[in-house]
Symmetry: C3
Subunit: 202 residues, 3 copies
């Protein structure tokens, strides 16, 4: 489990960093802006999570590996942007995998701090989704998360709820794998089938 | 005092949650976006307060009641929006009450942490006002707080200053009631009389 | 060192507060909005730094002097805006000095918490630059930092890297003076010579 989990986490970090860097390039930011947006998208969710529960210095400050991976990813994205752009499907799959794993990592952290299940699911959802929210705020847009066509945070919430239900009857490691698969799967299927949440007017 | 205070705090939370949900519906966000905006508006000020003073996990993570109240409020707002919309005056009164009580709660927290009076007043003002600031940032608008016609934060600052002056001569519980009434009253009168702060051009 | 450092820090705080107040007046905010923007620009970077490393209550809450200086600065800026506006060069020099010193203060805090050098440089850069980022987000603009013509954060990163290189061979106080001078110098020269980072399109 540990190695697979590390590999998927790195893949998720890479996908999120690329997503942030591309958004920044579309807004024609300078090199530093692209770098910052790659960082913020990849570590934003975990940073907000750690600040909210008081687990400081926040994760990326204690772990030199993640910043180096993000730095390398953003530099590679800038250098090879022509070749990365067509890999949309691959990037989307990484992003979905990252979403699932980041959510489960967040839930696990909440459990460790002794929070109740509902709050743990919220913490997992924040970990998975709020890097993108910070990215959109910095780029001066209403966060995509709040009005995007497909299911995103909802996948985290469903996966998180199932996580706690299964925890009653199955081994924790097995439950983690199931929850990651579920979140990732709901996300992929929702995009393929064009599912969306209803919009509400005042 | 405790029960009244709890009732008013719940009323304030409800009013803030409705205000956030309505703002989100006006921007045509999806169901999840409306839910998040309700949460953020209701707990944003207290969350920033707790993060700044290091009282973590932040309040709403340790208290399952508040998230449930907000969830119920937002769902009810979505279902009954036609009936809630005309209750503008009632909502405004709840909001003003919530503003007063949240400010006093924030001041009290500052005193407990040993901060000096001026900083306590700032902390109270942040608790009362910054949920709305986060709401406006997420909806991609310049925070209303900074350029709205009527008095808002100024009511918190005046009420907070009076709080510390009266604390020299009166019982703490009495002072709390007076400060809440004062903040709430200034807010209501400022809207009725159309008071505003001067605008300044560079 | 201590006295010079305190004087420069106060100068930097004053320059940052004026910069925030002027930005707010250009957006025609009310008096309270101008005050908040002065505060946020002056203390935003240090506040984010303290929250990320968990050094709470954050610095400005424990130190009554800084809020008073900012308050006085903003009031003076509002009263004497006609006389301050022409002092653009003086303000720019203060701002550059503040940038250098705030960065070095941030690096020093990172070292005290036991973070590794790369993260310390990031922390210093956040301390120096992110007050302006928060200012721009609150004013609903893409942060200038990410697409401004001249070198800004890059000066902090270079100065921070040199700081750690020189720390191997020179006394810490000497290194601090050199790093502040270097960051300040790069910033000033980059504006004079119109240096900029390359823009990247997706």
């Amino acid at each position: 489990m540990v190695n697979i989990s590390a590999i998927i986490e790195i893949s998720g970090t890479v996908a999120f960093a690329i997503s942030g860097a591309f958004s920044a390039m579309q807004k024609r930011l300078d090199v530093f802006g692209v770098l910052i947006m790659g960082f913020v998208t990849a570590i934003g969710g975990g940073t907000i999570r750690d600040v909210l529960i008081g687990d400081t210095p926040v994760a990326w400050m204690r772990d030199f590996q993640t910043p180096l991976i993000i730095l390398g990813t953003v530099v590679a994205t800038i250098l090879f942007k022509k070749y990365i752009k067509p890999l949309k499907v691959t990037l989307f799959l990484f992003d979905a995998l990252g979403l699932g794993l980041f959510t489960v990592i967040g839930i696990q952290k909440g459990i460790n701090v002794g929070l109740n299940p509902g709050i743990c699911v919220a913490l997992g959802t924040i970990t998975g989704c709020f890097g993108g929210v910070v990215r959109d705020i910095l780029l001066n847009e209403i966060p995509l998360l709040f009005h995007k066509k497909e299911i995103y945070a909802t996948a985290c919430i469903i996966g998180g709820a199932i996580y706690f239900l299964l925890l009653e009857i199955l081994d924790a490691n097995v439950v983690k794998v199931i929850a990651v698969t579920l979140i990732c799967g709901i996300r992929i299927i929702s995009v393929k089938r064009n599912w969306s949440l209803p919009q509400i007017d005042a």
